[in-house]
Amino acid sequence: MRMGTQSSFCGKSPWSKWYLTAALVLVFLVLSGSQDANALPAFARKYGLRCSACHESWPMLNYFGQKFKDNGYQLMNDRDAPIWQNPGYWPVTFRIIPIWHRVSTGKVAVDQGTGIARVTTSGFDISGLDFHTGGTLEKNFSFYVLPSSDATASFHFETVMARLDNLFGSPWLNIKLGKFELDNLLSEKRILTLTGNGGIYQLYHFTPVGDGNIFGQMGDNQLGAELMGHSYNDRTRYSAAILSSTDGNVGLPYGNAYTGYFAFSQAFDTGKLGVDRIGAYAMIGQAPTYYLTQAGTPLAGSGISNKSFHREGFVGQFYFGQHLDLQVVTQHGWDNMWFGQGYGDLIGGTVTGNNLPGTTLPAGSQAPTWNGVLFEPHYVYSPQLIFIGRYETIRMSRQANGAGSASPSASNLGNISTYTVGFRYNPFMTSRAGFAWHNEYNWLHQDGTGPLIGLSTSNVNTSELLTGFDFDF
């Protein structure tokens, strides 16, 4: 494939050369026309800092922005209490993204023809609307509320949390309560990509094929309480959270199960390279597999017979001067074999299996495990122009249906590989609004999840090209 593409450029088509040359010229012109960033809504309005002070590229935080967040959205310069806010300040930012995108999915089961087709569609679209509101209620009392809608304006609360900062005068003691993003160094909520598959970190949401455990998704905001602390300069950070095993769903829909999330990281001054950081995380929890029923319908909140799961890995943030950085996350995942056999989220309808008394697992069942890694390099030409790349791969190391099973799974069932490339350009940013022209391409490959072709499952390739205006005000 790669060789074929190269040969196309090298000799077969003058048009290819023309397009490539034109594209490179335009890229150069765009680069030469870029300026540095100005400011960001909400917090920038309060503090008068350019958005680039806190964001590598909005919304992704840089080190200073991470410290600001860890301090409870405070600069710690005695100007954090609301009394210092300009009376005209309103701590709200709206964000919405009109786009054009082209999505192509292979190996879709259809009624026509051979029963399998590639479905390609394109057109104009919009994202949902986010209302970001956050800041301080008083010095060392912080909050963040984020009502968020889908594209049809159906709202939910993505984030609702209050935080007590610097308890006993120590940055090592901060307590947060509510629904919030887990302390992921590489934040999915601040991801720089927008496509359906590239707009999330696959590693943060992976579940093996047929697995019923939705509760280990690190990328979803969760309900719980978090104890977090950091050194004065934020070089050293830790967090420990206790979460309801509900995947952030409100109303206690599952049962009495909890999950712990722990993270630790240490940053190092590497001279001219920058401040590099390495860390580790672990998510260890339980979730129900057995629900009481009422007229055959699972009863919300009745979940028992909790089973375990865990994910753990390392995180690295490596900077190579002012323009280039590489973010790395690894993960090892393990689910109890009950989850692997399709027990777990019966309330949400992910699975149908109910671990009623007397239920036994089929022969050959085993706890599924997997390993994954993601690499995300950024080239920050200026705070207004960033190029993004990402490669993620997840490989199953043990399938739920092992060799002793009646129908053992292929060893590669559910494996994922995905590439994302793109760039974001902010032609202007002021202290009242932000605007990014976003361009992105994502390609995702998953083994064995397509329809049967003969006796074999097929692999699915999905690609998406997206261009749009990501703006906030």
Partner: protein
């Protein structure tokens, strides 16, 4: 062939998108360009320990982190400056508050280096201790490109800070007497609350209103603009805070007197745990009247010297902003 079509397709998409974006960028550039930073007259360097900073290395970080307030031209007129109080530093004047050098002289590279990391409390200047030392050194060098003073003058010599004598109730008492004699209370107020009779009239060298420090306002974590230790307070007496009405007392106060004044000022920070407050508490919580018999002691010789400069205009002559 399929590959060729794919290349054509994506090349066309890329070209279209880039062309559209380029047009949009060009159309919107003009109103938002603002002043571009001038090319440095001369590349500057900074030297902090064994770290050498270069202005070329600091330019990008300056525009990313600093220019919003201090301005692309370093003149303190960033787009957010209008909303800030105190106003951002005007680097073109090369007048700085926090120095280890005598009043009117340029600060050392290390002074600027430390100010960046420490931030300036009671202002919008954050604590930039997230930078690497190299980044800070580069920023110091870049800041020096804004004023020709850095080419014509050398930084002053750093003052020597003698060892701090023990805190005693006598030193606190003497410090209080000095606080009165040197008329510190006129600006800072009798209880150090920043509410002295002159407080409302104070302006900096650029005629912006300025408030004297409120010693009583902070908690246990209270800081001063130029540091948080006793040595930092001592340094402020000797160097003054250029560009503000706070004068240098280098010529009118002896080292031991300055330390006594430091000890007394700590007691004005009533919410802060300190050895000075412990000594005061042990002495019954009241500062005894200063006994004149110590007037003959060497430590009090300064009391016979001329009083500190009182003229605001004289103090402001040092130049600078807030």
């Amino acid at each position: 062939m399929d590959n060729l079509k794919r290349v054509h397709f994506f090349s066309a998409i890329l070209s279209f998108v880039l062309a559209a974006g380029f047009t949009a960028v060009r159309a919107q550039d003009a109103p938002d360009v603002g002043p571009h930073p001038p090319q440095p007259v001369k590349a500057m360097e900074s030297h902090i320990g064994n770290i050498a900073g270069h202005s070329a290395g600091g330019k990008s970080d300056y525009r990313r982190y600093c220019a919003g307030c201090h301005g692309d031209l370093g003149d303190g007129n960033g787009e957010n400056a209008v909303w800030l109080d105190p106003k951002p530093r005007n680097f073109t004047l090369a007048t700085f508050k926090c120095r280890s050098t005598l009043t009117g002289t340029l600060p050392t590279d290390e002074d600027l280096f430390n100010t960046i990391a420490r931030g300036l409390t009671n202002s919008n200047m954050p604590i930039w201790n997230t930078f690497t030392k190299q980044q800070r050194a580069d920023l110091v060098a870049y800041i020096k490109t804004f004023s020709p003073r850095w080419e014509k003058e050398k930084p002053g010599d750093a003052i020597k800070i003698p060892a701090e004598p023990p805190v005693t109730i006598e030193s606190i008492s003497h410090g209080k007497a000095l606080f009165t004699k040197l008329e510190c209370w006129k600006c800072h107020g009798p209880q150090g609350k920043g509410d002295g009779p002159s407080a409302a009239t104070l302006t900096d060298s650029q005629d912006n209103p300025i408030r004297p420090y409120n010693f009583a306002g902070g908690g246990d974590d209270s800081r001063f603009k130029c540091g948080s230790t006793n040595s930092d307070i001592y340094k402020i007496f000797i160097t003054g805070v250029d560009g503000t009405p706070m004068p240098s007392f280098a010529d009118v106060i002896q080292p031991n007197d300055a330390w006594d004044l430091v000890h007394f000022l700590r007691t004005l920070q009533v919410k802060r745990h300190s050895k000075e407050n412990d000594v005061l508490k042990a002495a019954g919580g009241a500062i005894p009247a200063y006994v004149e018999k110590q007037a003959a002691a060497p430590a009090s010789q300064s009391e016979n010297r001329p009083a500190a400069p009182a003229s605001q205009s004289e103090n402001r002559a040092a130049g600078g902003g807030n």
